[in-house]
Symmetry: C3
Subunit: 344 residues, 3 copies
């Protein structure tokens, strides 16, 4: 695959400083690019690498044109433009439609001929796949689950029974969708399992990272909104609802029955309590603990379990490193006061 710079500029509305007939074949980092590569600059950390890049072209913001030694494609959002260009230059592996002889599709499952079911893929009874679905090697789609058009379930994914997944979703290996929520009732004998009779509803254009788990609802469903993006090893408990276009970084946990709004950005390794509500457009710093509902859009941080505004949190983090020092100073102050009052 290759693209001319003129083509890129035209498609994505970039101003081109350079020869429109030059072609690029692949993306590369500024540092490792060669004359057939296009690169981008969207993070200040990498600006020092711009001047020495050997890329054929670089997607940059307007302020970086002057410093760019290669052709410059100017974008108001270089990273998004890069994403679109990279998608064209590096398309997903094309499907090889058909059911591999080592795959198992139940007689009453609905698998259109446009789907690819890789070896070891299992589509259990009553499951329904949309058009052009990819079911990776050893991936399991449980009974009566529904998977929308153009979904790609990579290898070793598990979708439990009755789960519903919208179109164009990507599920990475080890993801588990629809496992039982942690519902147990205590009595004198110990614990009784509470049947988890709800399911999981996943919208369109959702991506779910490797080894992320999303539990089915206890009664009603667990819901993941359109365009939500979940990284690896995230735990979503039963009856959580996550809003549209919310992005959540790895290792985050959301406890049961919590609602998270739309267009939130949740930093990695955050822990969010159950039965609370986080409004739209909340940004959480990595490692935040959220014990109480957040009703006002904005940036928050804090751990353990008391999200505060992110500026206070950043100052608190510094103070935490000084805690022993503060304790010693407090003791000294107390001693001075006792001494001043003559009772030391």
């Amino acid at each position: 695959m290759s693209l001319t710079l003129g083509n890129i500029a035209g498609r994505f509305g970039c101003e081109l400083h350079g020869d429109p007939d030059v072609s690029v074949e692949r993306v590369a980092t500024l540092q490792h690019a060669d004359g057939a590569s296009i690169s981008f600059l969207a993070n200040d950390t990498y600006r020092p690498q711009l001047e020495s890049t050997r890329a054929a072209a670089v997607i940059v913001g307007a302020d970086d044109v002057a410093a760019c030694p290669a052709a410059a494609l100017v974008s108001a959002n270089p990273y998004a433009t890069y994403a679109h260009v990279a998608t064209i230059l590096h398309p997903a592996e094309p499907l090889q439609p058909g059911v591999h002889r080592g795959a198992f599709v139940a007689d009453d499952a609905d698998v259109p001929p446009s789907c690819e079911i890789a070896p070891g893929g299992v589509v259990e009874r009553g499951a329904v796949l949309g058009e052009r679905v990819y079911i990776g090697s050893n991936t399991v789609v449980g009974r009566h689950a529904r998977v929308g058009d153009d979904c790609r379930l990579m290898s070793n994914v598990t979708v439990y029974h009755d789960v519903r997944i919208g179109p164009r979703c990507i599920l990475h290996s080890g993801a588990v969708i629809g496992s039982d929520g942690f519902g147990i009732a205590q009595d004198d004998q110990g614990w009784t399992k509470v049947p988890q009779v709800g399911s999981v509803e996943i919208g369109a254009d959702v991506e779910i990272g490797a080894n992320t788990t999303i539990d089915r609802g206890a009664i009603d469903d667990t819901v993941i909104g359109h365009g939500a993006k979940l990284d690896n090893q995230i735990q979503i408990a039963h009856n959580v609802a996550i809003g549209e276009h919310t992005a959540m970084a790895a290792l985050t946990g959301v406890a049961g029955s919590t609602t998270i709004g739309s267009r939130c950005m949740i930093g990695g390794a955050s822990i969010i309590a159950g039965h609370i509500s986080i409004c739209d457009q909340v940004l959480l710093a990595a490692g935040t603990g959220v014990a109480n509902s957040i009703a006002k859009p904005g940036a928050y941080g804090g751990f353990p379990a008391n999200a505060v505004d992110i500026k206070t949190w950043r100052r608190n983090v510094i103070r935490y490193g000084q805690l022993d020092d503060m304790s010693r100073r407090l003791r000294k102050v107390e001693k001075q006061l006792r001494s001043a009052r003559g009772d030391a």
Copy 2:
């Protein structure tokens, strides 16, 4: 499946306020129930929904009878009663005994005809299954492992060699039982792997959540007691022992050789150090770090790594959000004292 209210009242010792001949077919939340549904109230959060529910019947505590617009089934433990009713109305999928043609059972493995082995299920050599075991699609039971009667191993579960699992356990997808513990010995060349020659012993009626990992013992076994309930993405290191009926919420990690007592309740995302001991009936708040043994039953919280009693911890959490403020106030006090002493 349906049950009359009279039948429910009789089986579970509930006082019935309503018509004993009314039938219910399914469980529902107070909010979404219809005239064929039974619901319950066990969490104050949902009390406001009681008055407007359209459920045929609601399982409630004695205090909520008056406010219940539907038939009321009065229970001393509404959630446990609900669990029992839901189990009858929503039974687990019945087994379809037999070995699927796409499953693989070693010649010398012992798989009774009452078991169901789904497509891609693998039972390796010398493994022994009890009666009525369900081995889900693409689940692997390693050589010489033993799985007790009526266990249900969902899809894509891994049980390593020689692991022993008691009857009536449920293992969710992605769970890994018996992987090598993290045993490495350092010398001049780097790290030497320490063979992990112990195994894992899991008692009866244990449930293991999705993508939870339980390592085999270094020499002796890792042990999970009867009735223990482990949520998703928990990490249990080698030679941990977990007592009977202990429940542990998601994302918790327990480091090697630690012993946890019976009937403990471990909040999610807790981190428990190695080589310590936690006594029976300890409750840990979510996100607790436990660095030292706990010898007294009770509720504890705290992070990082210094569990304190839960009341102190809750106050500390508040103070943590005020840390920068405390630091400023301390500096002011110091300045005032210096000024008072004339050395400012």
Copy 3:
């Protein structure tokens, strides 16, 4: 398998206090050893068990010889010596070379006859295995991936396309190598996926724990150095580089583009920010948050997100438990000062 004590002493340079012709057949803990067992003492916690052990021999440091009731094998590094002895007495399961009839190897994949591919194992097109590779049940090696000689991929492992793994690596069940990094670009419509066109390069002698995830690079590769040891449920984001012989305990997360040096020891449940650099020979206490680069070898701890030297951190942890007390004392001091100044 059995070894004489004389043989052990000779092979590993131990001084033997005891009969060189005595044989041992297995390893055991001091507590559970019998007359055919060899044990070791390398952790002070277990010293009290030495005097009552019934082991035939114990590997000990020089200081423990006198207290050893059995034959003593004196080693400068008892744990490493134990590791070597245990490896001989408890060798890994021998391979049964061949492709199981329930495994699937693509026509153009390269699988030497010395490999064992267990049932459900899938080797996709263009993949290349070295000699004597074990591919466990239901494990998937993606297209054009390369797996070095003598690797052991246990059951239900996933290796994505184009990943390269060096010789003698062990990958535990549920590990996912080469899933897409969390690359998403925001624009008005929501998120656009950024193709992850890099791969993962894993060196020789690396061990990867159960359900650990290692994402492929966004453009360049994610790199795991020779001899690195990763425990369970670790998350390695795209373009991370981990140095040789670095060991990382369970539940740790490393965000994107971070570099960790050689011979580091990372405590469990640590969270390491993206785009930073940690130098060689850094030790992190369990549960450490690292927000900034560390340029000096040494031991660090601290959470949230501000690693400090480990002594300060340990004192801070104590202060954290006293935080509410400090706050009260500060208020009292302020009141006394106001009172002394006559403005209370």
